[in-house]
């Protein structure tokens, strides 16, 4: 782990000149594989399944981009990254894009020189405690021992929250979600804090999920989304519009089931026609095939399908759409027009 930070930094420092202005699209095409950074294992978002294939909500974004660029959703090399290693991995060119529940913040965008291409999950930081502690609000956590993943925004939010409320806590910094889970279940910390979605995902893997509650306070805004390096806007556009294609597809009722039919010939809705390449030349503008968006939707589904099959209410994680509903349904998802 440490080694990879170091190697990453060395690479940034100059051994590999891949970073910067190099055309990522050409690299990916030449390689025939997309290198996509994901979490080391958050159920529902990014985790290998029983047969060792990566699946999850963030993984779907990687697969979508691979489908758009290479026409093959399986042509992805998943690179597990921790909260600490992810930025170095991206900056050094070890990965082409990062889809690892990463919060879009000013300093990451501006100072760390990354481009957040959009938001695929609107989240906020929450707290999980065992029911037997009888805690009903985060403000009652004075003196508690709190497990946090180190190298994340949660660390800073937590410090702010406790300082503003003038209560004390004992932070236990932890590298990965799995370790945090182990410490929390053994009672080495009273509270586990991370993004509320991550808490729900973690809780779903507990033997007695009902013995743990997620406190009502959400102490921060955590817009999570995929990101790429500064300096290659063409590549940034591809990732951005692959994500937007998934969101727009849901809005227009294009699903993995009916996309084949709808893309066979131009339909009534010009926006859908442009999206699916039966009208206009949006694909060409991106430097991709005309059917790029069709490939995305066909192979991973639209946003709603991805949500429901990975983290939706029918899954053990059981998240409701909430803020992540389409704007037409009172949520925040709003894909810019395909025009």
């Amino acid at each position: 782990m440490k080694k990879s930070v170091f190697l990453g930094a060395l690479t940034v420092a100059g051994l590999a000149a891949t970073a910067g202005a190099a055309a990522t699209l050409d690299d990916v095409k030449a390689r025939g594989k997309l290198n996509c950074g994901v979490a080391t294992g958050v159920p529902g978002f990014a985790a290998p399944n029983a047969s060792g294939e990566w699946e999850g909500f963030d993984v779907a974004v990687c697969r979508g981009v691979a489908a758009a660029v290479l026409g093959d959703p399986t042509a992805v090399e998943f690179v597990p990254t921790t909260g600490k290693t992810r930025f170095t991995a991206l900056a050094s060119g070890e990965i082409d894009m990062l889809a690892r529940n990463t919060t879009w913040t000013f300093s990451r965008d501006v100072d760390l020189k990354f481009t957040f291409v959009g938001v695929n999950y609107y989240d906020g930081q929450g707290f999980m405690v065992p029911k037997e502690l009888g805690v009903s609000s985060a403000k009652e956590l004075d003196g508690a021992t709190v497990c946090i993943q180190t190298g994340t925004t949660t660390e800073l939010n937590l410090a702010d929250f406790f300082r503003v409320n003038n209560i004390s806590y004992e932070p236990v910094p932890i590298e990965t979600n799995a370790e945090a889970q182990q410490q929390y279940l053994a009672g080495a910390c009273d509270v586990y804090t991370t993004d509320a979605s991550g808490l729900a995902a973690t809780r779903s893997t507990f033997e007695n999920a009902a013995d743990h509650v997620i406190l009502p306070e959400i102490i921060s805004k955590e817009p999570l989304g995929p990101l790429v390096r500064h300096g290659d806007d063409e590549w940034g556009d591809i990732v951005r519009w692959s994500l937007n294609a998934m969101i727009a597809a849901e809005e227009y009722g294009v699903t993995s089931a009916n996309v084949g039919e709808m893309s066979a010939a131009a339909g009534d809705n010009p926006e859908v026609n442009r999206l699916l390449g039966t009208e206009g030349n949006l694909g060409e503008m991106l430097g991709l095939d005309a059917g790029w968006a069709k490939m995305v939707i066909e192979s991973v589904g639209n946003y709603g399908e991805v949500f429901e099959s990975n983290i939706g209410s029918a899954t053990p994680i059981g998240l409701s759409r909430g803020l992540n509903a389409q704007w037409t349904e009172g949520g925040l998802l709003y894909a810019p027009p395909f025009r």
Binding site: V5, V12, A17, T88, K113, G143, P173, Q183, A186
Partner: protein
């Protein structure tokens, strides 16, 4: 008239740089040096160029920005509004703490195991062999994680202490609480404290030193000098009269009485830990992360030190032991007075590298969430500021300084004990 003709001067030709053995080694060195400098130049220019391409600037200004994160184990005053530099300093002190504790414990365990491994007792010799082979041949990271897992999984959580009929109770007359978050032991408190001295004013390196502690150390040191004076007097009397005066009560008095007087004057008492809210409050809190790291590093390094000690002892010829035996010394004293002092000369140089190893291995601390310099400066600070190059260079520099200091100290000690040859 005889003419002396000088042998014709060999003209220098370029090919001699390769074919003439007088110049060849020089040529190779010069070429190697140029190659090395080119490599360094390439790395530097590449770094500068890539940093420029990615639009990053190099600078250490971030160190004065507020850190924004909290650290659990702080040896000096720290809060999340302090600077990154102060956070790094807190981490550095944590590194030094575990390194010093580890070196001391590893030396004690290592010497004992090393001596026991040479024991004529079959069982003891074999058991210590098993210890050495087991610890030496498993990566230290695994030992650290393993120690932590044992502490977390086997010890009771603080909430087990709650209720009328708790599952767990405090040990040693209700003064020590052993939980899976750490061990709480009574802390020394002074009701008539002298206060602290504040050093380095408002800079980010400022810290307080307890005057009480300084006073106690001063008294203990003075007592030790007193005891030495008593011993010298007794020696002189013995030389003169042949009889050694009884001094044990004087020695004991010199050691104990001044200390007691100071402690009473300062109003010394113990603060006991008590369960309050989520955790125990009061007392000194030794976190699991510290204990696991300290234990694992000590036991691991002790295995290597044991081998050094064994090698050192075996390097002393058996004749020394036999001669000492012939003089009537018992095995214990032979080891302590004859063999070990000589063996030290062999032991110390490899011991230095073991200390260096332990200190550097302490950078694995983040595996158990111990916030050392790697965890603060090269961990969270790196991540929050994105200054990989600066933080890593700074971190490397700090480790270099620590290691060179240990090395210098041990070399000085080695020079003192090594055989003076004339």
């Amino acid at each position: 008239m005889a003419t002396v003709t000088d042998p014709p001067k060999a003209e220098f030709r370029l090919s001699m740089l390769i074919y003439d053995t007088r110049y060849r080694s020089m040529t190779i060195q010069v070429v190697a040096l140029i190659g090395f400098l080119l490599l360094v130049g390439f790395l530097i220019s590449n770094t500068v160029q890539n940093l420029a391409t990615s639009g990053k600037t190099v600078g250490f200004g971030f160190l004065t920005e507020p850190a924004g994160y909290d650290i659990n184990q702080v040896l000096i005053e720290y809060n999340n509004q302090n600077s990154h530099l102060r956070a790094a300093f807190v981490g550095l002190l944590n590194t030094l703490l575990v390194a010093v504790l580890g070196c001391i414990t590893a030396t004690v365990i290592g010497v004992i195991i090393g001596v026991l491994r040479l024991s004529p007792n079959w069982l003891i010799a074999r058991l210590t062999t098993v210890y050495v082979e087991m610890f030496r041949n498993v990566p230290v990271l695994l030992w650290i994680v393993f120690a932590m897992a044992i502490l977390i999984e086997t010890l009771p959580a603080p909430r087990a202490f709650r209720g009328d009929d708790p599952e767990a109770t405090m040990k040693i007359f209700d003064t020590v609480a052993i939980t899976n978050r750490g061990v709480y032991v009574p802390e020394p408190l002074f009701s008539r404290s002298l206060g602290d001295i504040h050093l380095f004013g408002t800079s980010s390196m400022n810290f307080d030193i307890s005057l009480d502690l300084l006073l106690i150390i001063a008294v203990v040191v003075a007592s030790i000098f007193g005891v030495r004076a008593i011993k010298r007097n007794a020696d002189a009397t013995q030389e003169k009269t042949g009889k050694r005066p009884t001094t044990w009560y004087l020695t004991l008095g010199t050691l104990v009485v001044p200390l007691l007087v100071v402690l009473v004057a300062l109003g010394f008492h113990l603060g006991y830990p008590a369960l309050q809210g989520f955790n125990f409050q009061g007392g000194t809190y030794l976190r699991n992360s510290l204990i696991a790291l300290w234990l694992a590093l000590s036991l691991y390094t002790a295995a290597f030190i044991a081998e050094n000690v064994r090698a050192g002892i075996l390097a002393i010829s058996a004749g020394q032991t036999e001669a000492a035996g012939a003089l009537g010394l018992r095995p214990n004293r032979i080891m302590r007075l004859v063999v070990l002092p000589q063996a030290l000369r062999v032991i110390i140089p490899p011991l230095i590298s073991q200390y260096l190893n332990l200190t550097k291995n302490s950078s694995l601390a983040i595996a158990v969430g111990y916030m050392d310099i790697t965890g603060t400066l090269m961990g969270i600070t790196l991540n929050q500021t994105g200054k990989e190059l600066e933080t890593l260079l700074l971190g490397m520099l700090i480790y270099l300084i620590i290691s060179l200091s240990i090395s210098a100290l041990m070399n000085w000690y080695n020079n003192r004990v090594k055989l003076v040859e004339r």
